[in-house]
């Protein structure tokens, strides 16, 4: 059994495998598949609670992942944002010196969440400009 705490390196290796088998398009196709089959709880929460669904979803996942972050919601303005100061997943990949992470690893978040949120009437913007330091920012806005 692979422990859930070893999942991030396993995930990165899966992206590398898909890239070897079918190139970047195969990796992206998997991200879209994952979004549609695995992120049903985010979809259900946002469908039921509107933008507060984002708050409810990430309140659990980011705490379980022991992330270092600030999360904000303005329901009247329809804006939700995560300022990630230390992403536990990317941080883990940067720390494990004996493995080579998938170079485009961080972009899976952008594809996964966009795929769920845009059809529900939200825009989803991900700033990955500092992801080489395990930092990023996600902003979701009601259209």
């Amino acid at each position: 059994m692979i422990g859930c705490t070893d999942f991030i390196p396993a995930y990165s290796e899966l992206f590398k495998t898909l890239d070897r088998l079918g190139g970047a398009a195969a990796v992206e196709a998997f991200w879209r598949y994952l979004s549609n089959t695995y992120l049903g709880n985010l979809r259900d929460l946002v469908t039921a609670h509107g933008i507060r669904g984002c708050w409810l979803y990430w309140s659990r996942t980011l705490n379980e992942e022991a992330a270092d972050f600030t999360m904000e919601i303005d329901e009247k303005a329809g804006v939700f944002a995560i300022d990630m100061r230390a992403c536990p997943s990317k941080g883990r990949l940067l720390r494990e010196r004996h493995i080579d992470p998938y170079p485009d690893y961080c972009r899976h978040c952008d594809v996964l969440y966009r795929e769920v949120l845009e059809p529900l009437g939200y825009t989803c913007e991900t700033d990955l400009s500092q992801c080489d330091r395990a930092r990023c920012r996600l902003t979701v806005r009601r259209r």
Binding site: M1, I2, G3, C4, T5, D6, F7, I8, P9, A10, Y11, E13, L14, T17, L18, L21, G22, A26, F30, Y33, L34, T37, Y38, W55, S59, T61, L62, N63, E64, E65, A66, A67, D68, F69, T70, M71, E72, I73, D74, E75, K76, A86, P88, E96, H98, I99
Partner: protein
């Protein structure tokens, strides 16, 4: 309503069992798109690279290194597992696999080849060492099973260590 929360990494323990569901999803996808050998190849590569320090410990310390690794793993995940270690054999009897249990409880589909996360990974851990692995029993419904690691016959061990 406006709200804001701030968390430091030290505020929480790192434990997100839903990741088992994401891994299962990845295995199912790889199986459907590229077949069984792609799944085994992926898990073998992952185990050989990511668990390289554990494989090194297996060479240096023998099966006690694997016992320490799996005891810590099943303890952290709340799994029920019994360990029997001798000089030449380690048997792990898993009563309930925590990954399968979590996926069943949360309604995540369990991939057809999810057992390869045990079988292929264990076999890869032993590559290039005097030891071999077999998944002696496995119930896909619960993940209950028996994992066995054992010392290869001397000629096979020499050949394996030479090949790696």
């Amino acid at each position: 309503m406006k709200e804001r929360i701030e968390r430091r990494a030290a505020d929480n323990a790192y434990f997100h069992p839903d990741f088992h569901g994401a891994l299962s999803c990845g295995i199912e996808y790889l199986d459907a798109q590229y077949g069984t050998e792609a799944v085994r190849g992926y898990l073998r590569t992952f185990a050989r690279t990511y668990y390289a320090p554990l494989r090194e410990a297996l060479r240096a310390r023998g099966l006690a290194a694997l016992k320490d690794h799996f005891e810590a793993l099943y303890r952290a995940e709340g799994g029920e597992a019994a360990f029997a270690l001798t000089a030449d054999e380690l048997v792990i009897r898993v009563e309930a696999c925590p990954a399968v249990r979590h996926m069943r409880a949360r309604g995540y589909p369990v991939a057809r080849l999810f057992h390869e996360t045990t079988r292929t990974v264990n076999e890869a851990l032993c590559e290039g060492t005097p030891y071999a692995a077999e998944l002696a029993a496995y119930d896909p419904e619960t993940g209950r099973g028996v994992q066995r690691f054992y010392r290869r016959a001397p000629a096979a061990a020499a050949e394996e260590e030479g090949a790696s």
